[in-house]
C-alpha cells in the first residue's frame, strides 16, 4: 500500500511536520500557536495509537495530496480537504476527532460505524489526553476565556471584555 509507505519512508520530524500542517489546516490556528500548546506530540501519539499506523499513514498521505493539489491557494485547499479527507468515510471521522481533540483536549472514541468497518484492534476509549491538554484546549483562546480552574487571568479581570484574538 502506497499510503503506509509514507510512515516508513519519513523521519519522525517529517511525520510531525505533516501532522502539524494538517492540524493547522483543520483548526485554523497557526503552527506557532499549535506548537505553543505543547500538545503536538501527545496528540500525534494519541491519534496514531487510536487508528493504527496504516490508517494514520493514509491520513497524512491524503493531506499531503491536498497540499500538493491546492498549492497554497486557500480556497483550493478547502475544497480538496473536503473532497479527500473530510468526506472520506475512513479519514473524515478521524479528522473530525482531531479537531475536537485540539479544541477540548479530549480524544473521543470513534463512531460505531467506523469501528465496524475500519477498526483493526482495540479501540481507544474517550479520555482527556492529559491535564495539560485540558488547559491548552483551543476552545479557550477562541472564546477569549480561561479554562476554569486553571490559567488564572488575575483577580477582577472578568470585569473587562474577553480578549479575543481576531487575526
Amino acid at each position: 500500500m502506497a499510503d503506509d509507505a509514507l510512515l516508513a519512508r519519513r523521519t519522525d520530524a517529517d511525520v510531525q511536520a505533516v501532522f502539524l500542517s494538517l492540524s493547522a489546516t483543520l483548526t485554523g490556528y497557526s503552527r506557532f500557536r499549535l506548537l505553543g500548546t505543547g500538545q503536538v506530540e501527545p496528540y500525534l501519539v494519541t491519534t496514531r495509537s487510536a487508528v493504527g499506523d496504516d490508517v494514520f499513514g493514509e491520513l497524512l498521505s491524503a493531506f499531503a495530496a491536498v497540499e500538493r493539489e491546492s498549492a497554497d491557494d486557500p480556497a483550493a485547499c478547502d475544497r480538496a480537504l473536503r473532497a479527500l479527507v473530510l468526506s472520506d468515510e475512513k479519514l473524515g471521522p478521524i479528522a473530525r476527532n482531531l479537531i475536537k481533540m485540539w479544541f477540548v483536549g479530549t480524544w473521543y472514541e470513534l463512531p460505531q460505524e467506523w469501528r465496524d468497518r475500519f477498526a483493526a484492534g482495540e479501540q481507544l476509549a474517550t479520555h482527556v489526553v492529559s491535564p495539560a491538554s485540558y488547559t491548552e484546549g483551543l476552545l479557550w483562546p477562541t472564546i477569549g476565556a480561561n479554562p476554569p480552574g486553571a490559567k488564572g487571568q488575575g483577580f477582577g479581570s472578568w470585569v473587562g471584555p474577553p480578549n479575543i484574538e481576531t487575526s
Binding site: 506557532f32 505553543g36 492529559s130 495539560a132 488547559t135 490559567k151 488575575g154 479581570s157 473587562g160
Partner: protein, 359 residues
Amino acid sequence: MTLRRIATVTDLHQYLQVALQLEHATIPPYLTALYSMHPSTNADANRVIRVVAVEEMLHLTLAANLLNAVGGEPDLTVDGFVPVYPCHLPDGEDDFEVGTRAFSPEAIDSFLKIERPAEGENQRFVARKRSHRALLPRVDAHEDDLHFFSIGEFYAEIGDGLHRLYEQHGEALFCGDTARQVGPEYYYSGGGAIVKVTDADSAAAAMRVISEQGEGLGGGIFDEEGELAHYYRFQQLLLGRYYQPGDDAGNPTGPTLDVDWDAVYPIVADADFHHYTEPGELRDAVLAYSASYGDFLARLTEAFRGHPELLLPAVADMFRIKELASQIMRNPMPGRDGMNAAPIFRGLASVGLSSVKVA
C-alpha cells in the same frame, strides 16, 4: 552618570531609580527559568523560583514608593532600563553575569550570586577592575574601580543616605505626593505586605523588607518574619533539601526536594533579536512579546506616577505575558536542531531599533 555616595536628595533619587532598575533586572532571568520548566513538573522548583520572583516585584513596588516619597519620578521606560542579557547587575557587581536561561544548576548558581549575602560592614565596596559590561555608574567619580559587593550593600548605602538626609532635612525629606503611594488596595497577595512610605519610620520598614527578604538578616538564614532569605531558597534546589527553622546555612535538614533538571525546554540562552532573523510567526511572536513587555513597563510607570489603580489591570497583563512566553518556549528555533525559542524582555523602542538591524 556616575553614582556617588549619597550626599544630596538628587543622589538619593538616582540611587532609588537604580534600585528600581536592579529589582527589575532580576525578574526576566527568574521568569525565564520558571517558564522553561515543562508544565506539571518540578512543582518544588517552580514554587521556589515563583516566590522569589514575586518578592522582587514587591521590592520593585517598594522602591517606587520610596522614590515617590522623597519627591522622585520613577521611570521604567527610560532607555536602558531593561538590561541586554547577559549583563552585570545595575548596582555595579561585575564578578558574575546575569542572563535569561533555561532552568539548570548553572542558572541557579547565578541566582545565588544575585542574592548573595552581604559580607559585613567593612566590605560594602570592593575594588575591582571596571568591566565594559557594567551597566551602571561607578560608585564614585574619583574611585573608578569601586563597586558594591552585593545588593545588600547597595541598599545599606541607601539606608545610610536616607538617615543622613533625614538628619539634615527632617520630615521635609518626605515631600512626595502621598497619592502616589501604592498601598494594599492595589498591591496584595504578592510576596508580602506593601508599605506606604510617608515618613522616616515607614521608609525604614520598606527598606527592611527589601534587604531582609533578599539576603537574610545579619548573617541569619531567616528574616524577622521567619521567612527564608532568597539566597537560601535557591540553595535548597542545589542541595535537594528544604531548610527548616534551626538549620545553619549550608546544612538544610528539612524534607527532601525533588528537582528534575531534564523536564525543561532547551531554550536558547540570552535570547536576542539577532536570533530571530527568519521572517515568520515565531519572529512576529517574539517581537510582539517584547513590545507588550515594553507596554507593560510603561503601564507600571504610569501606575507609579499617580495612578496606582492601574496595577489591577496590570495583573491581567502579567498573565498574558506569561502565556505568550510559554508559547514561545515550546516552539523550536528554526535551523537550530534541538533548541527552542525564548522570549526577549525589552520593549517597543528596542524592537524598532532592532528591526532595522536585522532586516
